[in-house]
């Protein structure tokens, strides 16, 4: 699938060489490149100012010093903050966060794939559009507000609990638990899984499935050998889009988990706003960022190519 990346532009100049008007073509290419750069400049500047610079600042602060009053002083550069990362406290937070983020990703995938499949296989354009709008409606209201609503829904005096009491099943009280955090995370990130999956499934040429069936593949086998491989870019994109933000989530744990089981995000926030230890918070952020970056790079270097 990805073999068409980059190949065409590489070949073009050489072909032009042979065709006879090299200098002219090269000049016009340079002009086009410059125009392209100018058009991209605003977004480039935006990313540098609001993405690259803050990241560099985070990196710089991670080597700074916390003075006794909890103010960060940009001198006496040291790696103390990184040494503290080895403590067992952080390890338990890390394990909990990893498990929760992985569970969120797996559940999201399990829930989204059938739904995206159903959406992509509808013949009617209208039905597809309506379903798509349905998926995106949650984005129209604030995430924080929706999280508070889930807390009300799950609380012992909430509608779920009342309904189960009225049919004699007793009180439902899952607010302020890890289960509630998981429910909140899955709910929050579900659209990020559905949308790329839908995009991948919708592009599939269903004649291929028909061909597989003609060649006596069972329905399951046709799915496993044709549909699943073709949808894999969507699966991977969805998993990255869900895993990364759920690894950094923190309001969900505070609001739905009762702040009782701190996640990585909570740990970082606490370093900044409770311990006033900015270098420590910055160091953890840098490490997470590096791990995510390396993971993504490794993926695109190896597995990503062959999809």
């Amino acid at each position: 699938m990805t073999t068409d990346f980059g190949v065409v532009p590489d070949l073009t100049p050489e072909q032009e060489h042979e065709s006879g008007a090299p200098a002219l073509e090269a000049a016009s290419e340079r002009r086009a490149a410059r125009r392209g750069f100018l058009v991209a400049l605003p977004s480039f500047a935006y990313l540098v100012i609001f993405f690259a610079i803050p990241l560099v600042i985070v990196l710089v602060y991670s080597f700074a010093t916390r003075n006794p009053r909890g103010i960060t002083e940009l001198r006496d550069w040291n790696v103390e903050a990184y040494r503290a990362l080895a403590e067992p406290l952080l390890r338990s937070v890390l394990v909990r966060t990893l498990v929760l983020a992985l569970l969120t990703t797996v559940i999201c995938l399990a829930l989204s794939y059938p739904f995206a499949y159903y959406m992509a296989t509808r013949d009617s354009e209208v039905v597809r559009t309506l379903l798509l709008i349905g998926v995106m409606i949650p984005f129209w209201s604030n995430f924080l507000v929706r999280t508070y609503v889930i807390r009300v829904l799950l609380s012992s005096s909430g509608p779920l609990s009342e309904a189960s009491q009225s049919i004699g099943l007793g009180e439902v009280d899952i607010a302020f638990s890890n289960a509630a955090v998981l429910i909140g995370l899955v709910y929050g990130f579900l659209p990020f899984m559905i949308l790329p999956l839908y995009a991948a499934l919708e592009r599939i040429d269903w004649n291929l499935v028909e061909a597989a069936r003609d060649l006596y593949a069972s329905g399951w086998k046709a799915f496993r050998r044709v549909v699943w491989p073709l949808s894999r870019p969507g699966v991977v994109a969805g998993c990255i889009l869900v895993f990364v933000p759920s690894f950094g989530a923190y309001v969900t744990s505070d609001i739905l988990g009762g702040a009782k089981n701190p996640l990585f995000g909570n740990y970082i926030v606490n370093q900044f706003l409770q311990a006033r230890d900015w270098p420590a918070g910055a160091a953890v952020s840098v490490v997470i960022l590096a791990v995510m970056l390396i993971g993504t790079l490794v993926y695109f270097r190896t597995g990503g190519r062959t999809l």
């Binding site: 009053r69 909890g70 103010i71 609380s155 009762g258 009782k260 089981n261 409770q274």
Partner: protein, 374 residues
């Protein structure tokens, strides 16, 4: 080719930014406040940085009309948030309202301007008890705004009328297990570990690792019994029936009780706030003027305005926190003045402590709190 050197831009910018901020380190509060201010004088519109729901909007309007300036109010959820915004300089705020320990930090960091007592004649209204506080001896940089306590509010429909006024209702398994899953504590290391330290009979400002470890262990056991650690909505959760025992700040509870009360329902009868007999946190929030305040004279006039007897009383009647303003007492609702939960009796006050900054030990509190949570 040129693209390759572009990464130097952020680096250069960071160097410029950090270079600037290290230069003005450690300045005193001289600079901006150098010009003498007159009582009632103004030099522009006021920008106030305050806790939310902490000032009667009526008072703001009154100040605007009286002095012909406009007031912009911005809010912070915690002292640390406020410090983060203010410490980078040029925040544009004139008056901030830090709590006790934060005043000490801000003075040492040179963030606060020394007050010009001549421009604040109403300083005379302060209760003498509040003119020489440990975090700002002689009150050179700050003026007490309101004070209150951290304690426990209970739902008497659940715990009954006959409960001990002790931290045991949260920490002692024999009493507290009955309310398991119905208890909330503040999501703040110093407050919650402080409560545990008080229950164990230690100072809540301890720097002794063993005492802190003991408090951490107690809190670890307690976490299993909690519904939530919450500093924002503990009062709503109590009034909403989600919790029955809530650790929190006095005034927030009273505001919630007040809002929950209707013509046929008196929330004060169902809910009760108390300061545990082992003692707890007492705090004072203070008005202070930033060293780089753009409008120092309007700021002084605002501080003076808030210290006015009637205005000070209006503040307490609005936010249900005790006033450090002695002259205001005659205008404060008698119900508030006589409420021992708002104005605790002397023997209770004797057991209260201000939270003091413990310097480098502060990170130990934060780590202990994270560990106690699991």
């Amino acid at each position: 080719m040129r693209l390759r050197t572009l990464w130097l831009i952020p680096v250069a910018l960071v160097l410029v930014v950090t270079g600037c901020s290290t230069e003005d380190d450690g300045d005193g509060g001289e600079g901006a406040a150098a010009a003498a201010c007159e009582p009632g004088g103004t030099d522009g519109d006021l920008v106030l940085y305050n806790w939310s729901e902490y000032i009667d909007p009526e008072l703001i309007t009154q100040f605007e009309q009286q002095y012909g300036v406009s007031v912009t109010e911005d809010f912070f959820p915690s002292n640390e948030d406020m410090l983060a915004k203010v410490s980078s300089g040029a925040s544009g705020f004139d008056v901030v309202v830090p709590s006790d320990y934060m005043v000490a930090i801000m003075i040492e960091e040179g963030l606060l301007a020394e007050l010009q007592a001549d421009a604040i004649p109403n300083l005379a209204n302060l209760d003498p008890e509040f003119t020489d506080l440990p975090f700002d001896p002689e009150g050179r940089y700050s003026v007490p705004y309101q004070w209150g306590t951290s304690g426990i509010a209970v739902d008497t429909n659940v715990v009954g009328e006959d409960f001990e006024q002790s931290w045991g209702i949260i920490f002692d398994p024999e009493q507290a297990d009955a309310y398991s899953g119905k208890i909330s504590m503040l999501n703040d290391p110093r407050e919650s570990l402080g409560a545990a330290l008080k229950y164990l009979g230690y100072s809540l400002n301890t720097s002794d690792p063993d005492e802190l470890a003991e408090a951490q262990e107690l809190l670890t056991e307690t976490t299993a019994r909690l519904a939530t650690y919450d500093s924002d909505q503990f009062e709503d959760l109590l009034v909403g029936g989600e919790t029955a025992v809530a650790h929190g700040w006095s005034g927030d509870f009273f505001r919630a009780f007040d809002e929950a009360s209707t013509d046929d329902f008196d929330a004060y009868e169902q809910y009760s706030y108390f300061v545990p007999e082992e003692g707890g946190v007492r705090w004072v929030d203070n008005m202070a003027i930033l060293a780089d305040a753009p409008h120092p004279c309007t700021a002084h006039t605002f501080v003076d305005f808030m210290l006015d007897a009637e205005n000070g009383a209006a503040l307490t009647n609005f936010n249900f926190y005790a006033s450090p303003n002695a002259a205001a007492e005659e205008f404060i609702d008698p119900e508030i003045l006589e409420d021992p939960a708002i104005y605790p009796p002397e023997e209770v006050v004797a057991n209260l402590e201000f939270i003091e900054d413990t310097g480098d030990f502060e990170t130990q509190y934060s780590d202990a709190f994270t560990q106690a949570k699991g």
